[in-house]
């Protein structure tokens, strides 16, 4: 290819590219969303919202920290109206960074329980995810299990599979432990837990479940929607693996099962503040809450909406009542603690 032809060609390529980014605005206006939830887990809801209200939703997905960084660096010029994350801690961090604003609506106050939202309305939880203990049906009796703390007992030596401490779910779990038991006790617990690992931490939540099913270890921790996804998978191998694993709800007598929420907050410099609140209202509405439950096996924040059939089959549980904002606050301490405990 000769270069003169490239230079003729380049402007048209760029033009084509830029034409792709200017999304057509619907008559009802638009709202811009930075979402840490994956496109698959939010887009269908947004499409429904646009259909109902005529408001177009422009979406960028990404990792929480990157989106937060983007919001911060864009400052007052940010196009984003709403920040959606899959972890309450990041919403608290965003609030501290001053990129969110408080909003109120009757619907939100009514539908979202107090511990799943910021008291002043800087952010609202949208769905709840629980991280129970999962065990091999054929090798473990549910009577042998009791609490998260109990997993540090030497009887589980070589029997626990665990995801890496890079996982925000584990960080959040340890942050919860610190909130309840203090750092010293939690560190001792983490060391005991690490001593029981069947192998160095690796892989995602599904990988831990598969390892339990295959017999590499007996017990693990995983978010329920991963197991739910495997139960309803199109892959027979995943289905069979999921069938070999059962859920145990720990800490039923004490602090309750570790939970976190995905949630959203309106940005401080939102140009479409009202639309953003409308979208928040929509995301906590019955239809949207049901969609979370059915499609991704998360627990609805709205107590009026029942969980999916898959989740129901695993029984009721007592959830940790700690305000999820605390988890974000303690997250750095949790990471350092896991470093010290040798949790890779």
């Amino acid at each position: 290819m000769s270069l003169p032809s490239i230079s003729r060609f380049l402007p048209s390529v760029c033009g084509l590219l830029f034409s792709l980014i200017t999304a057509p605005a619907l008559a009802g206006g638009e709202v811009n969303l930075y979402s840490a939830r994956k496109e698959d887990l939010i887009k269908p809801l947004l499409d429904d919202f646009s259909k109902q209200t005529g408001i177009a939703v422009n979406l960028v997905t990404g990792k929480e920290e990157a989106l937060l960084q983007r919001l911060q660096s864009e400052g007052a010029n940010t196009p984003a109206d709403l920040l959606l994350t899959s972890d309450a801690g990041r919403l608290a961090a965003a609030q501290q960074a001053g990129v969110l604003q408080a909003v109120k609506s009757d619907a939100l106050t009514a539908r979202v329980p107090a511990r799943y939202r910021d008291p002043e309305g800087y952010w609202y939880g949208l769905s709840v995810r629980a991280r129970p203990i999962l065990y091999a049906r054929d090798r473990v009796q549910s009577a042998e299990l009791s609490t998260y703390e109990n997993l540090a007992d030497p009887r589980w030596k070589g029997k626990i599979c665990m995801r890496s401490s890079d996982s925000v779910y584990n960080q959040s779990l340890v942050a919860g432990m610190i909130a309840h038991h203090g750092e010293a006790k939690t560190e001792a617990w983490a060391k005991g837990l690490v001593a029981n690992f069947a192998r160095p931490p690796k892989g995602g939540d599904r990988d831990q479940i598969k390892a339990v099913a295959a017999g590499e270890c007996d017990v693990t921790l995983a978010n329920t929607y991963y197991l739910g996804g495997m139960v309803n998978s199109s892959d027979d191998a995943e289905k069979q693996a999921a069938a070999k694993v059962a859920v145990f709800w720990p800490d039923a007598q004490t602090t309750g099962v570790h939970v976190n929420v995905s949630g959203a907050g309106v940005t401080a410099h939102a140009r479409h503040r009202d639309h953003a609140v409308k979208l928040l209202d929509f995301l906590t509405s019955d239809a949207a809450q049901r969609w979370y439950a059915e499609t991704n096996n998360e627990y609805p924040v709205n107590p009026a909406i029942p969980p999916s059939a898959t989740l129901k089959a695993w029984g009721e549980f007592k959830a940790d009542t700690l305000n999820v904002a605390k988890l974000g606050e303690l997250n750095p301490a949790a990471v350092r603690l896991m470093d010290r405990a040798g949790w890779k």
Binding site: F18, S73, K202, K210
Partner: protein, 551 residues
């Protein structure tokens, strides 16, 4: 200093300016790193820092060695010998380049994990349980080394092959008259003469390995890159993260200096004797098939198995996950990759030629620093683009408000321009390597001849160099194209609203642990990359006129 600037001219200014602009993301990281950090360093030094450094060094050395072990013999066999299947192996050996590293990691984990089909079959076949057998753990440092080496060796193969084909036939023949057999010709003549190319290839591979995040993160291997994110995301300390990133970049800088140093010692100009074709040595019978098998092994493990696994998954899941948006994704990916590749080519040509015109230290160092972005993890480059662009947007906005009372908002942030800039900052070295290599083969007397015939420096570039460089330029475009096609982190962070690519889609599904669902998109990346890879291989053949001509 006055002396330096007194002799500066438009070319030097232009080259230094462009180079520094491209170095902006990396410079941003260093500037951020200059702020005082909290107690995190004490903590890191006490706990995980030795792991990060140790694992990063081992990964770098391991992947470099692995890429050499695969790439060099393959290049030696296919460029100087004849054996069954040589013609198609020659290009097929480049195919693993089309597979993103994190995807090969996912597929092999799916296959080789304790719960995967291979081990399950072993257990079922021999009635073993977990305690009865030892199976190498794929998700480990050695596993990461193997995965990265399998997809990165083509860089070494590519450069080694060009070097072997370019070697003076006379030198090889004279070594025969001095009693050197085939084996000795390989290690005492061919290999040392190809050393500059091999070092260049290995340093590319090592930079890629250092920048890798997806594979090491999935395998639970703590390196600099995973450390950066852990400190940033987990401990909310972006300054310490920037300092870790700066440390990584210093690492890379040392690598680059070493590469330059070792290349300087051996500036080989050989008067190529093209009169006789390098007779390919024929392997007869068993030896020929042995050579075929030796070349098939990296192809099998680096491409056929992972691509096969992806195909099996995609076959099952495509009906559920592929919808009307698929074509838009494909178009986005291809156009973005093409646009970026052409833009980067122009910049590489500018910098490479500017360096040739004005070979002075200032220019050289500026161009070197523009190449640092290659080894930085994509996310780090992206943040390095985001911060200065947003600052620029803010000051333009403030200025416009003050003087005209209007807000200009965000001009660059959140546009494709920012994304393209990030690609330039990250992938320039790939193109620059190949442009520089091509330029170094054009004797300076060519420039002088053209100048004496009345060409301006720019005229020399367009009328002499570009036509002669055709092969190198095509190589540069195609390499960058494939790289951008696979690129994930910067795309994820900098892309505008409602803009997705195949890589983003594949990643979103894979990171949601829906490997099978992500397969159709991963496979589309691989397939889109195959075409350029094949073109690339043929371009190299064509770039050597008369090579196959009978004397």
């Amino acid at each position: 200093m006055r002396g330096v600037w007194a002799r500066t001219d438009r070319w030097s200014l232009l080259v230094v300016g462009v180079a520094l602009l491209l170095a902006l993301p990396v410079l941003t990281v260093f500037v951020t790193a200059l702020q005082p950090a909290g107690a995190v360093w004490r903590h890191l030094a006490d706990t995980v820092l030795t792991d990060y450094v140790g694992n990063s060094v081992l990964l770098m050395l391991g992947v470099g060695a692995g890429a050499l072990l695969i790439g060099v013999p393959a290049a030696w066999l296919t460029s100087l010998h004849e054996f069954p299947g040589r013609r198609w192996l020659e290009w097929a050996l480049l195919l693993p380049m089309a597979i993103p590293a994190y995807i090969i990691a996912y597929t092999y984990t799916g296959l080789l994990d304790f719960a995967g089909p291979v081990q399950t079959l072993l257990r079922a076949g021999f009635h073993w349980t977990r305690q009865d057998y030892g199976f190498p753990e794929i998700r480990s440092l050695p596993g990461a080394v193997v995965m990265l080496a399998l997809v990165l060796y083509p860089y070494v193969y590519l450069l080694a092959r060009a070097a072997f084909l370019d070697q003076s036939v006379a030198v090889l023949e004279v070594s025969r008259t001095l009693g050197a057999g085939p084996w000795r010709r390989f290690y005492a003549v061919s290999l040392p003469m190809a050393r500059p190319a091999l070092i260049a290839g290995v340093s590319l591979v090592q930079m890629e390995a250092l920048a890798d995040y997806g594979t090491v993160q999935y395998f639970g291997v703590g390196t600099f890159t995973t450390g950066i994110f852990r400190v940033w995301y987990g401990m909310n300390d972006s300054t310490a993260a920037a300092q870790l990133a700066a440390l990584l970049l210093l690492f890379v800088f040392a690598l680059l200096v070493f590469e330059r140093w070792s290349r300087r010692r051996a500036r080989f100009h050989h008067a190529g004797n093209r009169q006789y074709r390098p007779a390919r040595l024929s392997f007869a019978g068993r030896w020929g098939w042995l050579a075929t098998v030796a070349c098939l092994v990296p192809l099998l493990f680096g491409f056929l198995i992972p691509a096969g696994q992806l195909t099996v998954w995609a076959w099952r899941t495509a009906p559920h996950v592929v919808d009307g948006r698929f074509l838009a994704l494909l178009a986005n990916s291809l156009l973005l990759a093409l646009g970026a590749a052409l833009l980067i080519l122009l910049l590489a040509l500018l910098l490479g030629y500017g360096q040739r015109l004005r070979p002075r230290p200032l220019v050289r160092w500026a161009v070197r620093s523009a190449g640092l972005g290659y080894a930085a993890p994509g996310t780090v480059v992206a943040i390095g683009v985001m911060l200065p662009f947003a600052a620029l947007d803010r000051s333009v906005d403030a200025w416009a408000r003050q003087w005209f009372g209007v807000s200009t908002g965000l001009l660059l942030s959140g546009t494709l321009a920012a994304l393209l800039f990030a690609y330039c900052a990250r992938f320039l070295p790939v193109a620059l390597h190949s442009v520089e290599a091509g330029l170094s083969r054009i004797r300076p007397s060519m420039d002088d001849a053209a100048r004496a015939l009345g060409s301006t420096p720019r005229g020399v570039l367009w009328r002499v160099h570009v036509p002669m460089l055709r092969g190198s330029l095509l190589t540069a475009v195609l390499l960058v194209f494939v790289d951008v096609l696979k690129e994930l982190p910067a795309t994820l962070i900098l892309r505008p609203f409602n803009f997705n690519t195949l890589a983003v889609r594949a990643y979103e599904l894979a990171s949601d642990e829906r490997l099978a669902d992500s397969a159709p998109f991963a496979l589309a990346i691989v397939l889109a990359g195959i075409g350029p890879v094949i073109l690339l291989s043929r371009a190299i053949g064509r770039a050597r006129p008369g090579y196959d001509a009978v004397p």
